[in-house]
């Protein structure tokens, strides 16, 4: 029963991943995203550093998950190391 569950999950994941791939996304000639950040980044966010404006304004949700990942790492290290004693 468990095996079929994983197989169904794998099929759904494969369909979602294949559906989300866009052939023109990785094209180096498609500079729309880069040009948008270069032209509007300073006006939109008010920060001179474009890297900060991307990871704290356009992609702030990713930064939140990134901090949660570090939090999980701390919990894991403390839990595993403290189990021996």
């Amino acid at each position: 029963m468990k095996k079929y569950y994983y197989i169904v999950l794998l099929i759904i994941m494969t369909i979602l991943i294949i559906g989300s791939i866009r052939p023109e996304y990785g094209n180096p000639r498609n500079l729309d995203y880069i040009n948008y950040y270069l032209e509007h980044g300073v006006q939109d966010t008010g920060a001179i550093n474009l890297v900060a404006s991307i990871y704290l304004d356009y992609r702030a949700y990713d930064t939140l998950i990134e901090t949660v990942v570090l939090f999980m790492a701390v919990i894991g290290v403390t839990f595993i190391l403290s189990k021996g004693k």
Binding site: V42, T45, G46, A47, I48, N49, V51, A52, S53, Y55, L56, D57, A60, Y61, T63, L64, T67, V68, L70, F71, A73, V74, V77, T78, L81, S82, G84, K85
Partner: protein
């Protein structure tokens, strides 16, 4: 375990400058290379230097592990709270709702300075917590 007197004195004199550099990297995160993660790691390095030179017991009197883990959890909650606060003003989650200010000044870019400060506190507390766990449960130092 204590190290020699030279190392202890040098660490004592260097500590405020390392803290200052970490705060500088954090507060200038939106103007120059750096940011919350890097500043937090530098601040954690100062506490690690203190542990290496003075030993774990004397360091834990100043920077208690309980307080550090409390601050870490508080920082995550503050991050989410700042994101939710924008919803009450009618913006999406984690959208910048503060005024942008003048370009190039430290007091600009709205929500970036609080988020950088929160990330810096969180990373400093987290890396110090990992180091404390390695030292205490493995007994390396």
């Amino acid at each position: 375990m204590k190290n020699s007197r030279i190392i202890r004195t040098l660490a004592q004199k260097l500590l405020p400058f390392i803290f200052l550099f970490g705060c500088y990297l954090t507060l200038h995160g939106h103007l120059s290379p750096g940011g919350g993660f890097q500043g937090g790691v530098v601040i954690a390095t100062a506490i690690i230097l203190l542990t290496l030179s003075y030993g774990i017991k004397e360091t834990e009197n100043r920077f208690k592990e309980k307080d550090l883990s409390f601050m870490e959890k508080l920082a995550i909650l503050a991050f989410i709270f700042l994101g939710l606060l924008g919803i009450f003003f009618g913006y999406p989650f984690l959208k910048n709702f503060l005024p942008l200010g003048q370009r190039g000044c430290i007091a600009s870019a709205g929500l970036m300075i609080p988020l950088n400060l929160i990330i810096s506190i969180k990373v400093a507390a987290g890396i110090t917590g990992i180091f404390y766990a390695l030292v205490k449960y493995r007994g390396e130092i």
